[in-house]
Structures are given as structure tokens and as C-alpha cells.
């Protein structure tokens, strides 16, 4: 299907300090034209490489991060027939189990929803200027900073 067929796409792109709500992201992408929604939710794990994590701290270069997130949506729409797409990221201090990121995508059929959502989170992790610090009992580390 030609992705350009979808004329009425609605994008939701947000960075916020408050808790993220999957129900809101799902509502933002629900469409009568679509049979499929895929939602990726990134949560704070209690460990990294088997070392206990106390909490995470996220900071964003917000203006640019929002622009890069919009670019990802554009690139996703060029590859799959995405109806609506939501991409929200949290900043600040997050405890174990809390939600750091939500990506939701609606498509007419299911295969595209998975492919589009996975592409979007993979690309977000590569290009969007957001940084995560892991806080351990005995110190802290900026994730991925060193080779």
C-alpha cells in the first residue's frame, strides 16, 4: 500500500517530566481506519548487567529532541502505512518500573504496526538527544557514554 494514501495522520510528540500514560498514547492513535495498534513501553529495569540500579535520571535537549522525534515519524511514514503515531518521552528522576518512553502506532494491518514501532524506538535510541544516567548504590554512570 502506498503510505501516501494516509492523508489524515495525527502525530503526538511530547517530552514531559510527569508520569507517562499508555492509555493516552493509545487513545491518540486509535482510528476507525485501522485494525492494528502496536505500543512499545520502555520501563526502568532494576538492574543493568546484573548490577542493581536504584533509579534513572533522564535529561533532554528538548527543542532538538522534539525535532528529531518528528523526523523519525516522517521517516517511519515513508516506509509503512502509518495512520497515527505517538511518541512521548519522560525526563527527570524515574524509579524502578516507571515508564521512560511510549511509542504507539496504528496501521490498517498488523505486520506494519510492529515494524514501524520497532523502527521508531530503535531510531529514537540512536538519534534523539536524550541522556540517561543510572544511579547505583556506589555511584552513577551516563549510559553508553564510553565505548
Amino acid at each position: 500500500m502506498d503510505p501516501l494514501l494516509i492523508q489524515s495522520g495525527r502525530d503526538t510528540v511530547e517530552i514531559q517530566a510527569g508520569a507517562l500514560d499508555p492509555a493516552q498514547a493509545i487513545a491518540a492513535v486509535t482510528s476507525p481506519n485501522c485494525g492494528a495498534i502496536d505500543v512499545f513501553i520502555g520501563t526502568v529495569r532494576n538492574q543493568t548487567k546484573e548490577k542493581p540500579v536504584l533509579r534513572l535520571e533522564f535529561e533532554a535537549y528538548e527543542e532538538m529532541a522534539l525535532k528529531e522525534m518528528k523526523k523519525i515519524i516522517e521517516k517511519t511514514r515513508k516506509q509503512w502505512p502509518v495512520q497515527h503515531m505517538a511518541m512521548v518521552h519522560r525526563t527527570g528522576i524515574l524509579g524502578i518500573g516507571e515508564i521512560a518512553v511510549i511509542i504507539a502506532v496504528s496501521t490498517p494491518h498488523r505486520a506494519a504496526s510492529f515494524a514501524a514501532c520497532q523502527y521508531a524506538i530503535d531510531t529514537l535510541k540512536e538519534t534523539v538527544p536524550i541522556w540517561k544516567k543510572e544511579i547505583f548504590e556506589d555511584g552513577e554512570v551516563w549510559v553508553a557514554a564510553h565505548p
Binding site: E59, Y61, P129, K133, A144, A145, H146
Partner: protein
Amino acid sequence: MEMTCKLIAFGIARDILGGKISQISLNEPYTVQGLLETLKSEYPRFEDLASIKVAVNTEYAPMDLILGPDDEIVLIPPVSGG
């Protein structure tokens, strides 16, 4: 001629520079590459990073981009969102 730039830094780059906003003096031709070389010589810890990029006016900048005095110049250490 020297040009003084305002640098904004996030993540580990902020820690290395000791603050979110700092100043740096560049020599001509004021390229992104020149900025990074100056930075690495003044703050050798940048050499240890997996990567360091520069955003100019909220876009990733190529190495040969010429910086101007009014540009918003931001250091982008390896991103780790999500």
C-alpha cells in the same frame, strides 16, 4: 582572529565541562571540527567518549560547518534515551 563561542552541554559533556554553559575560544576557520579539536585538547576526557557530536541551531552539524557568533552550539555526547 579568535572567536569566542558559547557552548551548551548535556549529559557527560556537562560533567566534563563543569557546567551546562561554558565559553570556548576558537581560531579560524571556526569549523565544527576545529571546535572538537580545541575541546579535546583542553578537556582530554572527551577523547574517552564513545562519540561526541555537535548540534548547531538544533540540527546535527557536519564537521566542516562554519560556526558563527550567534549560533546555538550544543555538545551531544552518546545519546541514551528510551
